[in-house]
């Protein structure tokens, strides 16, 4: 029995296909499904809802900053808003959207697997993510308000005496729940990629997206346990009279920063690598070329993963307690593999036949914002420059261009790219392009002025500033940009609504895709594949559809099939 037959049998035996065999439907399907596609979609839509909520908070923050002494929200509310905005965007959107949503849905399809390795664990990790998100938001409904100590929750500001009430505890519980959800997903992703690949799909034929998800999973397994441990210590400090982070009891507040950033810096790459993977899928397809320098790209990803464990203290340059040259050197060094990635993307497009559909436009937006954020990131790796702009809007602009640039532009690139596969429907190209231009112009207008605001000395996390800072106009410009970006998401919602109400069938392979997820129907059946094309290179579907340009024709890039396989 072949895998393909097996899959057919399984789907018959269990009658699990959502429409065919009278299995559970609606809410009950959503509650009980262990299908990676249902869970992946749940993850994706849930995290996008969290993004819209956190984005709305950003709008309030920006509205508060339109004047030097606005009183739109109170100081306490302002602190709660940016804390939960940051926490939601990082813990509940950027990460889960990628490794819970895209990876869950796409990775098994890309490697020709029927499901994730641990389907029930997968479902559990979604429920932990959802309940974690609800927990975080519920802080706003407690009498003391939500956590207000920033997403980094520096001790001792996060101690019980400085941050009393249930809000901070809810925040801690939320992080622990989502942390476990991330750990479970990471275990699942790595096991799936290592053990459930289709025959012939060797590690060095994996799509780059899958590679990046493997490295992301490894980083999650390194980083999240430390975060969870730190949260438990923080909780023990708050309630059990422990003294991990209190000076009076012999603890060390700086230890919190070390623990947090030892999680926090790999976390940055946990958020970025999946989107790099998405971009590396989109560019070759819309350029009709293979990835340039595949192995170099894989090694760049692996070295980002390895180096990212040794750069944590570049967030602590101004504490005066860290070894500056060591962390400066590693932080500068990590720019090299990142740069290699950018050059690889450009080289992939070089000599191609680039079609500017919406996903590709978002990739261009990603490249522009990411290179800007990357260059300023290199500056921040130098301690003297960090002394000058640490905790100012310069840093805010930098990490928004890097993180939001990847998560929004990379994320929506992937969303539009795989939307036909997810739903079987096509989005409206015009609205997609409109959304891109609004998001891109708005995003740039928001964050370029913030570099100058930061250089002029406006710290982050302040609701008021001085007229003499000469940043009022720049802040207003930034706010206009933020609202334009916000409006672009309304265009996206309209697009989704139209495509839902007036569906246009997309077909199984609308983009002439290269990888296995396009070899099945849209949306894929339960257990994913009825037949698989023979796998002889990193682009099995391209080989099957374009035999005259197949990868195995280039030396060292696969093996030619035997005739009987092609005819099968």
């Amino acid at each position: 029995m072949t895998i393909a037959d097996e899959r057919k049998d399984l789907s018959h035996d269990e009658g699990g296909h959502e429409h065919d065999h009278g299995g559970p439907k609606g809410i009950y399907l959503w509650l009980t499904s262990t299908d990676h596609k249902v869970i992946g979609k749940s993850y994706m839509y849930t995290s996008l809802v969290f993004m819209l909520i956190a984005g709305a908070m950003a709008m309030i923050i920006r509205a508060q900053l339109t004047g030097p002494n606005n009183h739109l929200v109170s100081q306490q509310t302002y602190n709660e808003l940016f804390t939960i905005h940051g926490s939601m965007m990082l813990y509940l959107f950027a990460g889960p959207f990628a490794f819970g949503g895209f990876a869950n849905y796409i990775l098994p399809l890309q490697i020709g697997a029927p499901d994730m390795a641990f389907p029930r664990l997968n479902a559990l990790s979604y429920w932990l993510f959802l309940t974690g998100g609800v927990t975080m938001l519920s802080g706003f409904f407690t009498s003391g308000g939500a956590a207000a100590f920033g997403w980094v929750s520096y001790a001792p500001l996060s101690s019980y005496s400085n941050a009393p009430g249930a809000g901070p505890d809810l925040w801690i519980v939320a992080i622990v729940l989502t942390g476990f959800s991330g750990i479970f997903t990471a275990v699942n992703l790595i096991t799936t990629a290592f053990y459930l690949r289709a025959p012939g799909l060797t590690m060095f034929r994996l799509p780059i997206f899958t590679w990046n998800m493997i490295v992301t999973g490894m980083l999650i397994l390194i980083a999240f346990p430390i975060l969870t441990a730190a949260m438990i210590m923080l909780y023990a400090d708050r309630h059990f009279g422990a003294h991990f982070f209190t000076v009076s009891g012999g603890g060390s507040p700086v230890m919190w920063q070390n623990l947090f950033w030892f999680f926090g810096h790999p976390e940055v790459y946990i958020l970025a690598l999946p989107y790099f993977g998405i971009v590396t899928e989109v560019i070759p397809v819309f350029s009709r070329k293979p990835v340039f320098g595949y192995k170099g790209l894989v090694f760049a990803t692996l070295s980002i993963g390895a180096l990212s464990t040794g750069v944590w203290a570049h967030h602590m340059f101004t504490t005066g307690t860290v070894l500056l040259p060591f962390f400066s050197a590693l932080s500068l060094l990590i720019a090299v593999p990142t740069g290699v990635k950018v050059f690889t993307w450009i080289a992939t497009m070089w000599g191609g036949d680039i079609e500017f559909k919406t996903p590709m436009l978002f990739v261009v937006g990603f490249l522009v914002t990411f290179v800007m954020g990357g260059v300023t990131g290199v500056m921040l790796a130098a301690p003297p420059i960090d002394f000058a702009v640490h905790d100012t809007y310069f840093v805010v602009a930098h990490f928004h261009q890097v993180l939001a640039g990847t998560a929004v532009f990379g994320g929506f690139s992937g969303f539009f790219y795989w939307y036909p596969k997810l739903t079987g429907r096509m989005y409206r190209e015009g609205l997609g392009k409109l959304q891109f231009w609004m998001a891109f112009v708005g995003f740039s207008l928001t964050f370029f002025p913030q570099y100058i605001i930061g250089l002029r000395g406006m710290p982050r996390r302040v609701p008021v500033y001085l007229v003499s800072d000469h940043v009022t106009f720049l802040n207003q410009l930034s706010t206009v940009g933020a609202f334009l970006t916000g409006a672009s998401f309304v265009v996206w919602l309209i697009n989704m609504l139209i495509s839902w109400k007036r569906p246009v069938a997309a077909g199984d392979n609308p983009w002439d895709g290269h990888t296995l997820e396009w070899a099945t129907s849209s949306p894929p059946p339960h257990h994913n594949f009825v037949t698989l094309p023979p796998i002889r290179s990193a682009r099995p579907l391209w080989d099957a559809n374009h035999p005259e340009h197949a990868d195995y024709k280039s030396p060292g890039h696969g093996v030619e099939f035997r005739d009987e396989e092609v005819n099968k």
């Binding site: 029995m1 072949t2 895998i3 097996e6 399984l10 269990e14 699990g16 299995g23 559970p24 009980t32 499904s33 262990t34 299908d35 029927p114 390795a117 389907p119 029930r120 664990l121 997968n122 479902a123 559990l124 979604y126 429920w127 932990l128 309940t131 927990t135 809810l170 801690i172 519980v173 622990v176 476990f180 459930l196 690949r197 025959p199 012939g200 060797t202 590690m203 493997i214 490894m218 397994l221 390194i222 909780y235 309630h239 070390n258 692996l302 390895a306 464990t309 040794g310 860290v322 070894l323 060591f326 590693l330 257990h527 698989l532 023979p534 796998i535 002889r536 696969g558 396989e565 099968k568």
Partner: protein
């Protein structure tokens, strides 16, 4: 299995190297402890993969020329629908909330956790299909 082994070993050994440099240069033991732990997180799975690599038959997914038909047998049992992960999730959620709202949620949450964990295990023993 070879590549999987090498990835983990590579990262483990690299971090060990960084640990050594950091140890002699910074002489700060918090960071050394964390880095050493990370090196372990790389080397531990590497040893597991390395151990299996020597003992398992070559897999079709590691072969450059395997055909789709080469993968024989049951890949695994994949239950299509089961309520227990949801029950477990709610159990974990309510148990965790007891850290904020007091022990009473732990009673419900803990009960759900035990019930859910037992049911998931029994479900697997019955053959995985519900």
């Amino acid at each position: 299995m070879k590549v999987e082994y090498r990835i983990y070993m590579g990262i483990g050994v690299f971090v060990l190297l960084i640990t050594a440099v950091y140890f002699f240069w910074a002489k700060e033991y918090g960071g050394v402890t964390m880095l050493f732990g990370v090196a372990g997180l790389g080397i531990m799975p590497a040893l597991y993969f390395g151990w299996w690599r020597k003992r398992m038959d070559p897999r079709p997914e590691d072969s450059e020329t395997a055909t789709i038909a080469e993968s024989k047998g049951v890949i695994g049992a994949f239950p299509s629908n089961t309520i227990w992960p949801f029950v477990l999730g709610m159990g974990a959620f309510l148990s965790a909330l007891s850290l904020v709202f007091g022990e009473w949620t732990l009673v419900i949450g803990g009960a759900l956790l035990i019930f859910g964990a037992a049911s998931v295990t029994l479900e697997s023993r019955r053959g995985g299909v519900i």
